[in-house]
């Protein structure tokens, strides 16, 4: 339930930004975040909101079912999560690297470091976590049977 409410809040916030509510506020509170985020950022926020709602509904569905259906739903949730994680690491990281390059750590521009090494290490961590979690789900499913 928590994810659904949070997701709805995010979507309402995005719609408010698109409607220019921030810019209409009087005085110093009048701040329009649209130019700062850009339409790419807005789409990303919208996707986060939708994902949160989907995660909420998935959690409710898993809680209501048992046996093979529960196993399938948990597998599906993990698969979507794993694919989203891989997509975020391989697609989103290079796309946001430009602004991150402003930060330098030990000579490494942060955006470059993440695309050259950081995201690759996280891919491997994701792979082990995904494998371990799915194997645990399968083992639980077998013990339920």
């Amino acid at each position: 339930m928590f994810e659904i409410v949070l997701g709805l809040v995010v979507i309402v916030g995005v719609l408010a930004m698109l409607a220019g509510v921030g810019g209409m506020l009087p005085g110093s509170a009048g701040f329009d975040p649209l130019p700062l985020l850009g339409y790419g950022g807005i789409c990303l926020l919208l996707a986060v909101g939708l994902l949160l709602i989907a995660a909420g509904f998935m959690r409710r569905a898993i809680a209501r079912h048992s046996g093979e259906t529960r196993h399938d739903l948990r597998t599906a949730r993990l698969t979507y999560g794993g694919c989203l994680g891989a997509a975020a690491l391989s697609l989103a990281v290079p796309l946001v690297a430009g602004p991150l390059n402003v930060v330098r750590i030990d000579g490494f521009p942060l955006g470059y470091y993440l695309a050259a090494q950081g995201a690759l290490i996280w891919h491997v961590i994701l792979a082990f976590a995904w494998a371990g979690r799915q194997n645990a789900i399968d083992a639980e499913g077998q013990s339920d049977e």
Partner: protein, 637 residues
């Protein structure tokens, strides 16, 4: 007993998952891409980090998404899984896509092996291709799965060790640090300073130069995303990788082996940008201090000799090939060009674009070389006669090495690395052996995947037919490799793109989704592969017509469109057939683009090789729609 339970019973529970991961890592990535990775990062800096990201994401998806599903079907091949789930027609169509994917990858593999063998051991190129074909064919037939797995693991370990050792040596030489992968930030800072000096001294060509760490200078954001997408989905369904992960394992062990494979592949992938940073430091250092062309650094000898580097469009490999053509009786530039077209396509293309005065200088230098000329004599002829003429024709009056003059092929950097690192000769030889071994193992793995197209439980006659098919495909690939094509990276990306669009929808979604039907899978394979092939071939073969058909989808700017319209008028107003043919070629070149200039023929600016970004989503959509439609019809019946 079902086949699934037979396979599970045959599984060896003590079979090492870690060793299996290492073995699969040796068969995960096409060798020609693996060896090109550091060079790619040197060429385009940040933008080509997309290769590492896409390939590793693909390995993760292969191990966690595709291979466990294939193992769950109780088979070890992707066509076997599709056969079991969707029937014979889907398996045959997937088999055709596998053949179309493996053929170019195998050819690129043979080119890489033969080029490295020629460069490191002086083997004749043709003999090296034939040797690679023979060894790969024997290895694919003679070894059992377990023995082949051990060989792949050993070869990958040796290759990775030589790369890491080379990296440590380069870091020690350049920065005096022994933890190079964690500490090459200082090299990046130094590269940035050198880039500023090159810019100040006007030693760069803005068409090919990019600041190393700054994103999206050579590729657009969309191109980077499309490249990552195509590489990831294409690698995920590579038949030899999926089979290596799946064979004899239950899904749980397959997943863990997949994760270990990702770890071992990552070790090489994160070494590539580090090697690139240290190499760029050396290369830009040589350029920044105004090295004269007459005193070229020795690290350029190997890539120039292999035709994997060019200075002002010339190379030592070109000089040798021209010398061979001259000895064969070819006297004028045109006849030499025709000879080169028979067995050295990439050199022939460079030869055609050279200035006439440079061609004559190359021919004169070639005439001075005897058939038994030593490498020193060839080097002297090249630096003493060819380079001054090439520099003069290019307007490089000072005769110094510049970023604009030097074009390094991605694979060429690997040949230069041992000299750049001041590595001992044994390490250079070890690295060459490592590259050749990885290439041969990959070629054998590709051939084994072709042999297993008929499935593990096929009749003996069908298995013999598959073995025959594998041999014919390998012969075709070797035949293409003897032409010595260039652009191996583009060839590999195109092949992976086709795999992504043709196979991923049916394997990634079709095997997991219970409502998927055979008709849906068949339609997804046909439509996904069809769209991607159309996009790639359309742009490469008939670019002007492609642009005219899809003008509304192109990202071409106003100036480019005006130039294209002028080109069309030139075609219409051409006075004779020759003029018309020349104008048509110019129009096609304009629409197709070049490595440094974006063409007009595209959808939303996406490179032709990354067509999977359209093909795969269309394939997935087709799978869903056709499955829902046919399922309803089946229910109604």
């Amino acid at each position: 007993m079902s086949d699934a339970s037979t396979l599970a019973a045959a599984s060896n529970p003590t079979q090492s998952i870690v060793g299996g991961g290492l073995s699969a890592a040796g068969r995960a990535l096409p060798a020609s891409l693996l060896v090109a990775l550091p060079g790619l990062v040197v060429l385009a800096g940040f933008d080509n980090l997309a290769f590492g990201l896409g390939l590793l994401a693909g390995v993760v998806l292969a191990g966690l998404l595709i291979a466990p599903r294939v193992a769950k079907e109780g088979v070890a091949t992707i066509t076997g899984a599709l056969h079991r789930r969707f029937g014979r027609a889907a398996a045959i169509l997937a088999g055709i896509v596998v053949v179309l994917v493996v053929l170019p990858l195998l050819a690129a593999d043979f080119v890489t092996v033969a080029t490295v063998a020629q460069s490191a051991f002086g083997s004749p190129y043709l003999a090296a291709v034939l040797a690679a074909l023979t060894v790969a064919a024997i290895a694919s037939v003679a070894f059992g799965e377990r023995a082949f797995g051990y060989a792949a693991a050993a070869v990958y370990f040796a290759f990775a060790a030589s790369i890491v050792l080379l990296l440590v040596m380069m870091a020690a030489k350049s920065a005096g640090r022994l933890a190079p992968e964690l500490a090459y930030g200082s090299a990046l800072t130094a590269v940035g300073e050198l880039e500023e000096r090159l810019l100040e001294n006007q030693l760069v060509d803005f068409e090919t130069f990019s600041v190393h760490v700054t994103p999206f200078l050579r590729l657009s954001q969309r191109d980077v995303a499309a490249l990552v997408f195509a590489l990831a989905l294409g690698t995920a369904v590579l038949p030899q990788l999926v089979s290596a992960l799946t064979f004899g394992r239950r899904p749980a062990a397959t997943r863990l082996a997949g994760a270990w494979t990702a770890l071992f592949v990552m070790i090489v992938l994160i070494a590539a940008p580090a090697l690139a940073a240290y190499a760029k430091l050396e290369i830009y250092g040589a350029i920044a201090k105004g090295t004269p062309l007459s005193a070229l650094p020795s690290w350029l000898e190997a890539p120039l000799g292999a035709g994997l580097a060019q200075i002002h469009g010339t190379s030592i490999a070109m000089l040798k090939e021209v010398a061979s053509a001259v000895r064969g009786g070819a006297a004028d530039p045109s006849a030499i060009g025709d000879q080169l077209a028979i067995h050295a396509l990439a050199i022939e293309q460079s030869w055609r674009t050279l200035d006439e005065s440079v061609k004559l200088a190359v021919i004169e230098a070639a005439k001075s070389l005897s058939a038994n000329a030593t490498s020193d004599e060839v080097w002297r002829a090249y630096t003493g006669s060819v380079l001054p003429a090439a520099a003069s024709a290019a307007g490089n009056e000072a005769g110094i090495l510049s970023q604009a003059a030097l074009v390094l092929d991605p694979a060429g950097l690997l040949l230069a690395l041992p000299e750049l690192a001041s590595a001992p000769s044994w390490l250079a030889l070890a690295m060459a052996v490592g590259v050749i071994s990885v290439g041969v193992v990959m070629a054998a793995a590709f051939m084994r995947s072709l042999m297993s197209l008929s499935g593990e439980h096929a009749a003996a006659k069908t298995k013999w037919a598959s073995a025959g098919l594998a041999l014919v495909i390998a012969l075709l690939a070797a035949g293409f490799a003897t032409l010595r094509p260039g652009e191996l990276v583009t060839i590999c990306v195109s092949a992976l793109s086709l795999a992504a669009a043709g196979l991923f929808p049916a394997l990634g979604l079709g095997l997991a989704w219970k409502r998927a039907t055979a008709a849906g899978a068949i339609a997804a394979i046909v439509v996904g592969a069809g769209v991607t092939l159309y996009y790639d071939i359309g742009i490469q073969v008939f670019p002007a017509a492609f642009y005219k058909t899809w003008q509304g989808f192109s990202d071409a700017g106003e100036m480019a469109i005006e130039e294209f319209n002028a080109g069309e008028e030139a075609v219409v107003s051409a006075e004779d057939a020759d003029a018309k043919a020349t104008a048509l070629i110019a129009l096609d070149d304009l629409a197709r683009g070049t490595p440094t200039r974006h063409g007009l023929a595209n959808w939303a600016g996406i490179d032709s090789a990354s067509g999977a970004v359209f093909g795969a989503p269309v394939g997935i959509l087709t799978l869903i729609l056709v499955s829902l439609m046919t399922r309803r019809r089946q229910r109604a019946e």
